[in-house]
Point group: C2
Amino acid sequence: MERPIVTFLGPAASFSHQAAVEFFGKSAELLPRLSFADAFAAVQQGEADYAIIPCENSTNGSVVQTLDLLADPNNLYQDVAVCGVHYLTVHHCLLARRGVCTGQQDYESVAKLYTHPQAWGQCESFLGNYFKGIERQDVSSTSRAAEIVSKGKSEKSAAIASRFAAELHGLLVLEENIEDKNDNRTRFLVLRNIKSKHTALHLFRDMNNCTMQELPAYTPVAKKTLVSFMVRQDTPGALAEALLIFKSYGMNLTSINSRPSRKKTWQYVFLVECQTAGSIGDSRAAIDILGDLQSVTETCRHWGTWTE
Amino acid sequence: MERPIVTFLGPAASFSHQAAVEFFGKSAELLPRLSFADAFAAVQQGEADYAIIPCENSTNGSVVQTLDLLADPNNLYQDVAVCGVHYLTVHHCLLARRGVCTGQQDYESVAKLYTHPQAWGQCESFLGNYFKGIERQDVSSTSRAAEIVSKGKSEKSAAIASRFAAELHGLLVLEENIEDKNDNRTRFLVLRNIKSKHTALHLFRDMNNCTMQELPAYTPVAKKTLVSFMVRQDTPGALAEALLIFKSYGMNLTSINSRPSRKKTWQYVFLVECQTAGSIGDSRAAIDILGDLQSVTETCRHWGTWTE
């Protein structure tokens, strides 16, 4: 089997990198990109076989930048589809260079903290206990925070990032699991190019040494489908009408998000996820739903059906 | 008539401040607060009669912090209700101290730009044309950016903020309307305390010198209603069931947002807005809808019905 090329939001040691390794195993060839849009484009253009992109966090909710790419008003990513999902448990650590600090007894020697803006909010209680009033610097990712701290030779600084980032940048883990909620998780979507014959042959579970064959043939598997559409603004009740279609096929709506269409002011693209129990490989219901949706919506699109 | 006390996200000269002045007129007593949560609390505790809070922008979509306050998982704001809406046209300007720069001919003398993170994205084309590669500093609001630039005597800096902020901080407006889309608008919700007898007497249009009496008696007025609820996770189809209720009362769903409940992982609070044409003052339909919603949802709440 050829090594799949997997793209994600870098730099190395980001939580997206960790998700890529957990999901695809160590055999994948990794292609970090500077933005979610660059990762989507890499899949569309065939530079990568897969992308793994965060779509929501259990504490902070939807990742709006990802929703905007899925809304895709200019059809930039028409060959990209969702083919799987991965849940990453997000544990934050406090990291410093060796010599700056050894643990709680000398936390007061740390003069400045670096991390991604989302992480402050996830570690509020820990920071309130030990780092009240210490200067905080926002950076573009937790892995970038670790990198800055590892290079800041003259600075008494610490980063909030993953253990993975500590290992990559040779930092000391002063404290683990400093997040407020120990069930802090991020859900990633796995994307592929629908025109790629190479990726169509893969079954993801193979990569994690858990083959499909291990599941008994009769196990009902929850499957999710993602659909995007706009409703006609001149048709009252059109959104309820559209959502009713899911119900008529026995699909349970599990999430609805709306993003500005960027075509007309106050017009929205709706992103709807629904779930059913069905046999693996059967996405017939999704196709029927799409047919019905086309009669009450605009620019309706099936982003994919996968095993959750 | 007593002067109403109006709270909003400060500091002075923020877009929220501008919305407060446009909506309530100059007679209102203004009470700037440091966060949206502080403004909600001021209304709940009766320190302010009204709050005016941004809920969505036509370019960037929902204001997530506001949605989280409306989701209100701990019932902190149970006496707060939505009673009106205001649309603010958001025009960005490039501002500098006198002497730093006079216009396009010497933009190259500007070494650093300050603004709120949302504003960079709204002025991308202008910044790409004239300020490629110039250092950018994120700050908490556009009015704070103007304040910093006005005080940075030794720095060759400029701010992206409103004309209103330029006037308050004595800055020169180098260029107006630098936003990419000239229909860039923010929608604000007007909140009041339902227990306040004082605010119940006010009709907002009076404050803007456009009295209700000017409308012909037979004009059908679009009214909007905001409702929040959680669906039972063990009931498939519960969300579609809930949304159907709006349709059965002839209400058109105009927006749906979901935010993490912060009680259980992957459980959501849904915020649904719906619209109908009805006579002013009649919120009977909303009350009936609530009754029906209670049978299929959890923690269902009517946030208010207002004239759009």
